[in-house]
Amino acid sequence: MTETIVTPERPLVVEEGDVKPGFIGQSVPRKEDKRLVQGEGVFFDDMKRHEMGFVHFVRSPYAHARIGSVDVSKALELDGVYGTLTGDEVAILTDPFFELSTPPGAHIKDYALAVGRVRHVGDPVAAVVARTRELARDAAELVEVDYEPLPLVLDGEEALKDKVVLHEDAGSNTVWSGVFDWGDFDAALAEADHVVRIDRLHFDRFSSTPLECAGCLVEYNRGTGQWTIHGNHQMPGVGAIWMAPALRVGIDKLRFVSQDIGGGFGNKITLHPQFTVCCLLARKLNRPVQWTEWRTDQHTANTHGNERTFLDVTVPVKADGTMLGFSVRAIDDCGAFPRYEPLGCIIWAQVTPGCYRWRSMRVDFTQVCTNKSPVAPNRGYSRMQHLWLTERIVDIVAGELGLDPIEVRKRNYVKHEEFPYETPNGCIYDSGDYARCLDIALELIGYDSLEERRRDAEARGKLFGIGIGSTLDSGTNNFGQSMILNPELQFSGNNEVATVKLDIFGEVVVTLGTVPQGQGHETTTAQVVAEILGCTPDDVNVRAGHDSYWNSTAGFSGTYASQFAVTGLGAVKGATEKLAGEMKQLAAAVFGCSPDDIELAESHARIKGNPEAALPFMALGAILNANNAGLPPELDITLNVRHVYRPPFEKPDLERKYGNLTLTYATQIHACALEVDPDTGVYEIVDYAAVDDCGKRIHPQIVEGQVHGATAQALGAATHEIFTYDEEGNLLTPNFYDYHVPHALDMPPMKNGYIESESPFTALGAKGMGEGGGAGIHAVCAALQNALGRRGEGPIVWRSCNPYQSVWELMQNPGETRKLVSVESR
């Protein structure tokens, strides 16, 4: 079922690295698997401590209400209850978490528990700790909260009117707003032969819903004032930046530890409010406390992906199908609290023109709070929403002007020979060949037999459609983009750490700064280290998981933003090369030769050309660590090397909102064929091809696994996964019963193809690729559009998620959505 096409016929950008071929590029066995297939992984909920208490949150049943009083007395009377925490206590014991935004968002006060007011259903109001999980929930039911319901606002556009304001301190629901204007959009309009206008497009709310929900086990050391948080925060460095000032402690008082994490996808980046509650409880009750989030809690009140409405999309097009750019008004709904936001207000700008050579873009971007669950980065964070816009633009323009969407893409794609390509806002697309990827996708999906298959489907009473999604997975953030939002922020660049040591018995031990959740960091790290040290991946012991006390972390450590292959492995490579240098120095000192004469091979340091003169790694480790008398005093080595990888970034030009915002761009060109039952709106994806280009693939099997997973999530988001609210602000899809994620039978057969356009900007030629760009969402939308109608007649697929009923409604009244589009031809 899986086909692989590796490397294109014609040469791509290839930067010869100093790492020779060997383990890199091979699908070696994953080091993580042995424990995981035996149920011997350690996830946070697997840990137990003597006399630990279980935390249960008391959550708001109202989307917006003033809190009159919180009475915990009945809960405290229950046998087995250890204690409680309320918003009033939190307001005394902590400061609000800092906000990244300029005003009005800057004035939002976000505490670990609701203080004075609840702002979404599920907003935690109090927490109870008890001897068992069940008792904690029993007690939580006994907490009496007096609510005074307030009017609520659930729609982003409505919220902008500020008739109902969530955060009184901010005085407005607007978190952040700004205009981005690159190129010369007015000139582009003047130059156009056609101007296509789309009144409204809407990217729906969903999230990747990692199978393991959030949680932690927190221990407090009363003597040192230090907390150990065994939790599944996927970006603990940033978590600590939020939590430490709020808790009024130094950042080193927070030790974050994790071994295995059951998926993250960005949804575990904003766990600081709940973790802060657990820290306060561990200190207050002087016992370890454990919090396990349940699925319904996660859907209701943890994190969603950003919901975004695009208004007044205007696209100037030349007669030959060349598009000159676009303008749009975007309203991003971040739910009740910004938390990681408003970073989503800029992250999309990494892919402003999508895959296209568009030179003039004007984006009026506003982010707004509503009485819904807060958002957090979600696989494809912020770029996915924007790329859905660029892909909808291409297909709607092609449809309205009677152009072939394949030809339009090829005409407008950035061309292979143009890389590295600078976008109008200063981002550098490093390498790629979009047209070639599209050709491979079309070949895999059998584009030549399209009309035949359409006829076949029609003979069976089905409508057939095919669609393309072309996306970019921009990886390795330049955090300097945050300064475009708020010049006061002191964040720029990026970093990641690895520590590699040769231990006393010759064991190679690697400590990462990252927080893996399934990406195989132990394995790919071992490949790189083995390659450089001349041993095998089996000889390399990569510590599982993360511990901020391992002293192998930096400010941006974590696993997010498609960057491990660049930042994580960049750090590994740097540290290992330094270690290799030290090992050669040591061997040279022993042999009395120059380090240049030493080579590392077959787990030995040996004199080149004289394999007899060889020291096994064990000897090197033992000599320096335990048998070092007589070594030359000038030999300044530790065989324990910490390296910080720092990508080459500049601070952006804040006036022009211009600069390189990210380092690498992996490509995803996906093609989807589907059949729609015209009587019911039910549709089935009958064929799917995914062609990805992430530069050098360190471990092809892992890359393919990421492609499969990102595709499955995109197909889920396109078909059934949507967070829908009723008028009272209750989430109607609060768990997997109503929120239907793809099961095994829902997934179509998948064909995969690859090319490798190595990045000229990274140590290994690799690019991050874990997030994907949501190409499946765009491909399904395009295929539905294709199936439901021909030029000028069919409905406009204007939302990102199209469950069966939506498709049926589109077919019932195509004119309704056709009103969204107009063409002005000159």
């Binding site: 079922m1 899986t2 066995p29 994953r30 993580e32 698997d33 042995k34 424990r35 995981l36 297939v37 035996q38 149920g39 011997e40 992984g41 350690v42 996830f43 909920d45 697997d46 137990k48 999980r133 069940e134 990747s208 819903t209 990692p210 199978l211 393991e212 929900c213 295995d260 994490i261 059951g262 998926g263 996808f265 396990t292 349940w294 699925r295 319904t296 959740q517 399934g518 990406q519 195989g520 099997q701 892992i702 393919e704 696994g705 990421q706 499969h708 997973g709 595709t711 499955a712 999530q713 768990n735 997997f736 019963y737 994620v741 793809p742 099961h743 095994a744 039978l745 997934m747 998948m750």
Partner: protein, 156 residues
């Protein structure tokens, strides 16, 4: 027997006998994970949809979040911890690793138990039968592609 709110139960888990007093309301999955400290079986939802807690009870594949521990009194339970023998992965486990059928590994124990049950009933399942066999197990990482491959390979 009159209704009880607490009872001492005995179970055989992976060939080892256990006797524990449990609340009637204790779910079997919490009993296995919290009381017996066999944490290989996981919890991914609260509605019986995800299958991460799948185990075999008297040879029958069940979701242990939709069964009370007290109902398992006297039962023989098989969990992921019982698959490998003497530290050697069994063919299915090895196949999952070989085919990269796991990423975060959270759904894997339940998935392995469903696959175990499937292969015991049907030694050479078709792709469709494999997909039906793991329909009750949600994976958010792999899109199931490699899981299906791994189960097929293990059956060959």
């Amino acid at each position: 027997m009159d209704p009880v709110s607490r009872k001492t139960i005995t179970v055989d888990v992976n060939g080892e006998g256990f006797e524990r007093e449990v609340d009637a309301r204790r779910l079997l999955i919490h009993f296995i994970r919290d009381d017996l400290d066999l944490t290989g079986s996981h919890i991914g939802c609260d509605t019986g949809n995800c299958g991460a807690c799948s185990v075999l009870v008297d040879g029958v594949l069940v979701k242990s979040c939709m069964m009370l521990a007290i109902q398992a009194d006297g039962a023989r339970i098989e969990t992921v911890e019982g698959l490998a023998q003497d530290g050697e992965l069994n063919a299915l486990q090895q196949s999952f690793s070989d085919h990269h059928a796991l990423q975060c590994g959270y759904c894997t124990p339940g998935m392995l138990m469903s696959a175990t049950a499937l292969l015991r009933q049907n030694g050479s399942p078709s792709d469709e039968e494999i997909r039906r066999g793991i329909q009750g197990n949600i994976c958010r990482c792999t899109g199931y592609v490699n899981i299906v491959e791994a189960i097929r390979a293990a059956s060959e």
